[in-house]
Symmetry: C2
């Protein structure tokens, strides 16, 4: 057996452990009975440890070295060994003891964060966060600090991206976004969103969202949708992709949440089946993944053309929405309004929430922002970027779960996804100029097929930066997003 | 660390792999999308292999030897090492190559059986079955043949039981059962069961069955119920027990199926929490397990007292059942009628189906029955024991899945469960004489508590044979079942 073949056999074992771990997690978030939490944590932790042992084993390292020598440069096998090298390298650079310390603090930190948020008291969370920042700093040092301590952390989620890239991105969009938001506010236009909140029948809502996700290309023979309090997408195989959603109280949670998760899901379903169970399968990075969820959620799902097709059917399921016509519904689901909570933000203000978090993360890591001063910094930036100030920490700096688990360096990938979605769409429209006509007819196949071929079917073969250039002809930038925002919202809000 | 402690740590790893494997299986039978089958098989097989490697590893053998020396005789730890010794010994005696051959033939054999049953043609299945019988014979030889080649096979499912035990059991009940069935038939009484078939609303059926399983003692904080085409009970922890059921077309499938699986489930939930994740937790054998499912299904669930309490509530959910009064409903759900299909058999004729299978298994293993003659032997025994003959193989010797997977020696545990349920109930009634009053009031706690304390809370600490004596004061026998049948059906069918 060649080293490559032996390596693939080892990787299949690791994949089975990781897939089983993902099933345990999916089950925990959808159906698991409440008192099973402790046993589930034990089982998941053993699977995680066994997979980690395999990833970092001498046997795998040896096989990998030999496989690297065997793989034809430029071949799929070469891509495979490159990904495996990156994975094992990330995993071996961080000592097991640090991984363990972080996991323990994350488990504890989550509890502490839940309590602090319930009490709306950042002071309760501050010592834990300070300890977590220390651990993450240590982690960054193990991975190897480049120009910024932020770089190795961001790289874990978005290979090859740096703090400098993120800074450039935000420099391009910050002032124009703030200006556009202000111009919209000054129109004093208030789209009527009141009727979008209600007690929606779950059966009918689920029927509608399943119709929508199937229409855009999600394959229900190779996936399903269930209910979860915090919606997510996971997969255990290219042929087993699980979406979750929630249906109340905002009807948009169901619709746009389903489109969002289906965007992630179609990316996962689109990998070549012969790569299934190998690190070649699946989305290449968080940012590129988010570009697909946001593309389907915002560019397709929040377009007027999309609702030209789907509004009658939605109103058929929920006659209480007959109140709306196409224009008022389109305006309602695209209402721009500075708000306190990131996950509820509209697509225009969303990036400002991320910018704020990026700057705070940088400050914490570089030591220029003392943890105790975090609420003040948060509120100041909210005032500056969005013109509103949280009345308390729960609606301010305690709103996100990420930091309690040590996910620092993660937030920028959300904005990268937003920007990339418009950049990819702009390129797609060069090949398919009549996207509005297609969507208005409910004919999504050409759009899906364009994305499938160029992005989904590439799996993780190319680095994210390479993929972006291959697909769009240029590196990730902010121009397409910014001009997309200006043209969409100038029309919607009749700006001068 | 003591060897005992180190052994327990190893066992926890094995348990995590096995629990994860059980989650994969549950998911496959309940929610998994259809095209995920192949990937799921790959993942499950890796988990199974890794667990098997751990069970049979030198490290575990060494630890076990040292732990056996450490464990205080008579202690719980001594019970633990005894169980682990039995497990590793079963697993190490059968060569990996034979395990692999059997697994492959089982996978293939299942497909062949499905096709042969669809075509109702035993000839299509015969060569595969012959090969499977050869493998099972080899397996028996590896395990060590005692008085009968059947003994080591049965012992895998029911520790310590032998073909001689099974023979004694059937000798006691065979003729009296056949006579009782004949006497019933001669009364020409036909309980009205027609209204029990229908298109039951799943939501209301599920609400009713959940009410029932909770009432008898199943804890929905530590378990749940879902829909599956072939109902089963599985568990991943004492705090995570999953029942499945089906709701159509016979309303009894939902009700008695739910009671049956809840009986298994309460047994699993009842192990001491400190044993969770160790081989001490969980039911001790298939026969004892079946005694609990059958006790709740038949003795409790098919009693007149049970329906005195639950019929009004069932009729509230399904007014189409208002047709029945308590007596006619009680008669309907206890209708005795020789029938072709084991899983649909009433509790009286059921054991005759098992007797037939036991005799055929013995014949195949001992070589006194040629595989090609199986349909004839089957039909002959059906005529002799039940007075009816299958019109084709699909409704005859091809009806059960067991043999295609190589589960030979398994069937008798169903009858052991039936017999044991009445033996245990007879002993319970010495302590709780007013079971009918309690059940008629919907007050199941004293019954549950009696079983919990004596059986469920013992987990696998004692051998099945020891447990039966501890609980009932005598070894498993057929007398209580036989006299239970005579008194119940004499009254129901007004026999002389």
């Amino acid at each position: 057996m060649s080293a490559l073949q032996a390596l693939k056999t080892k990787l299949a074992d690791i994949n089975a452990l990781e897939a089983a771990g993902a099933v345990l997690d999916w089950d925990q978030q959808t159906y698991m009975p409440p008192k099973a939490v402790e046993a589930r944590a034990r089982h998941a932790s053993v699977l995680g440890r066994l997979a980690h042992e395999m990833w970092t084993s001498d046997e795998l390292q040896t096989l990998l070295g030999r496989a690297e020598a065997e793989a034809e440069p430029g071949s799929v096998d070469a891509a495979l060994v490159r990904i495996v090298r990156r994975e094992t390298s990330l995993k071996t650079k961080i000592p097991a003891q640090l991984v363990e310390r972080k996991a323990q603090l994350a488990a504890l930190g989550h509890e502490v964060w839940v309590e602090a948020r319930a009490a709306s008291d950042f002071g309760k969370f501050a010592p834990t966060l300070a300890e977590m920042v220390d651990i993450v700093r240590e982690e960054a040092n193990c991975l190897g600090v480049g120009d910024s301590i932020y770089d190795p952390l961001l790289d874990q989620y978005e290979e090859g991206s740096t703090a400098a890239d993120v800074r450039t991105m935000f420099e391009t969009i910050k002032q124009p976004t703030v200006d556009l938001v202000r111009a919209i506010r000054e129109t004093n236009t208030q789209p009527d969103t009141g009727r979008l909140i209600g007690e929606w029948d779950q059966g009918r809502a689920s029927e509608f969202t399943l119709k929508v996700v199937q229409a855009i290309g999600f394959d229900l023979q190779r996936g399903r949708q269930d209910v979860a309090p915090h919606p997510f997408c996971t997969n255990f195989s290219v042929n087993d992709v699980r979406l979750t959603t929630r249906f109340k109280p905002y009807i948009g949670s169901a619709i746009f949440g389903s489109l969002h998760e289906a965007g992630h899901g179609m990316y996962e379903q689109g990998s070549p089946e012969e790569w299934d169970g190998t690190p070649l399968a699946g989305g290449v990075s968080l940012g590129v993944h988010e570009s697909q969820s946001r593309l389907w959620e915002n560019i397709v799902g929040r377009s007027r053309a999309f609702w030209e097709h789907f509004l009658p059917s939605l109103q058929g399921s929920f006659p209480e929405l007959d109140h709306y016509n196409l224009d008022s519904f389109y305006a309602a689901v695209n209402k721009v309004e500075p708000s306190l909570i990131r996950v509820e933000a509209d697509e225009l203000t969303y990036n400002l929430h991320i910018l704020l978090r990026f700057e705070i993360e940088l400050g914490m890591l570089e030591g220029t922002l003392a943890i105790k001063d975090l609420p003040e910094a948060w509120n100041e930036k909210m005032r500056e970027y969005l013109g509103i100030v949280p009345p308390n920490d729960a609606q301010g700096c305690l709103q996100d779960v990420h930091w309690s688990g040590g996910s620092i360096g993660y937030f920028p990938t959300y904005s990268m996804g937003n920007l990339l979605s418009y950049q990819i769409w702009a390129r797609l429209q060069q090949d398919i100029p009549n996207t509005d006509d297609l969507m208005a007819k409910g004919h999504f196949a050409p759009i899906f097929e364009w994305l499938r071929e160029r992005i989904y079917a590439q799996g993780s073969r190319y680095t994210p930066k390479d993929l972006v250039v291959r697909v769009t002809g240029k590196p990730m930038g902010a121009d397409d997003w910014m001009s997309g925002m200006k043209s969409k919202y100038s029309a919607l809000y009749r700006l001068a």
